[in-house]
Symmetry: C3
């Protein structure tokens, strides 16, 4: 069994945002030389998500408004976590969008359907954040 | 390390529906010959989920009504994604139910509690969809 | 490839509660002797979650009140699943919080960011429940 590890770093200038990181994951997979196995991708933070969905800006707007409806940022005083912080909503939003994705690797490629793309979802940005890519296989 | 890959196909005649796919995953595991490892099961589409819960029709009705409350299909114009499409709600529902499951394989079997069953959750049906099963282990 | 399996058991005296199980997962990882790979942690039940977030009691209160808002326990008659049972809301809450986590193992340790901690989330407690830890790697 082989394993490979790499980190990506992001600094999103707004509180929330979505970035398509599929090219970086594919590049990492090429470097690993692994042909059959699994790749795990997750943020190393608890106010962000890695998820798989569509690369369509209208949908990303829908996600943002929908998450704000289900777990609003304001008023920040509605959350007991917000004593000295204001990011409780980010911890909640990340639970809906999920922490991590696990993707199959087949014949050296991400084993994806036509529209599947991997996103980093930021819910408490404006600072440096890291994403972990871990690949195991052969 | 061994790996095994198989696809399942579904064509659910309604917009939404849940199918218990545990027997197909078990059959795939038998074919793989893998005794210890992990199995990943995910749709190859972004308007569907694979999840683990109870095989009880009342609960499935509850899921459907609950998802409609959290991410309603109508009015379709509330979503910016719906320009020429009407499935934005399906992309949202899939985030709540999750994309994939990873299940332990122990002594050649799905390492499950008594009530755990794997479901394909369709949120934009009436066309052919595929599910990927990827097994790694020994 | 090596694999290792262990179960944890919990009996939370209230209907709902969160327990930090990171120390138990780390102990299990030490016993496994696995240095590079993946660990899967999931409940063997369908009314509980394993998830990764912050070990902060205010946030846990926020999670509990938020989940009650999105999938209320009362009135129990609103759910078709509740014929002889009253735990439909627990099945729904578990979908938001997720079933399982998959964590990278690097140099014999959980490959975590500074604040990542693994929690068992109980939504239908007051009885014995089990959590599965499955590790694969080398």
């Amino acid at each position: 069994m082989k394993s490979y590890r790499q980190e990506l770093t992001f600094n999103i200038p707004s509180r929330r945002g979505f970035i398509n990181i599929t090219p970086q994951v594919e590049e990492c997979l090429q470097k690993s030389g692994i042909r059959e196995g699994l790749v795990l991708v997750n943020p190393l933070h608890i106010t962000a998500s890695v998820f798989i969905n569509d690369d369509e800006s209208g949908l990303h707007d829908d996600f943002d408004r929908w998450l704000e409806r289900l777990a609003p940022h304001e008023p920040v005083t509605q959350y007991r976590h917000n004593t000295g912080e204001d990011n409780a909503d980010a911890h909640l939003k990340r639970q809906i969008m999920g922490r991590e994705v696990v993707v199959a690797i087949t014949e050296g490629k991400l084993d994806f359907g036509r529209w599947e793309q991997i996103f980093y979802g930021e819910f408490d940005g404006r600072r440096k954040k890291r994403v972990l890519i871990k690949i195991i296989g052969e």
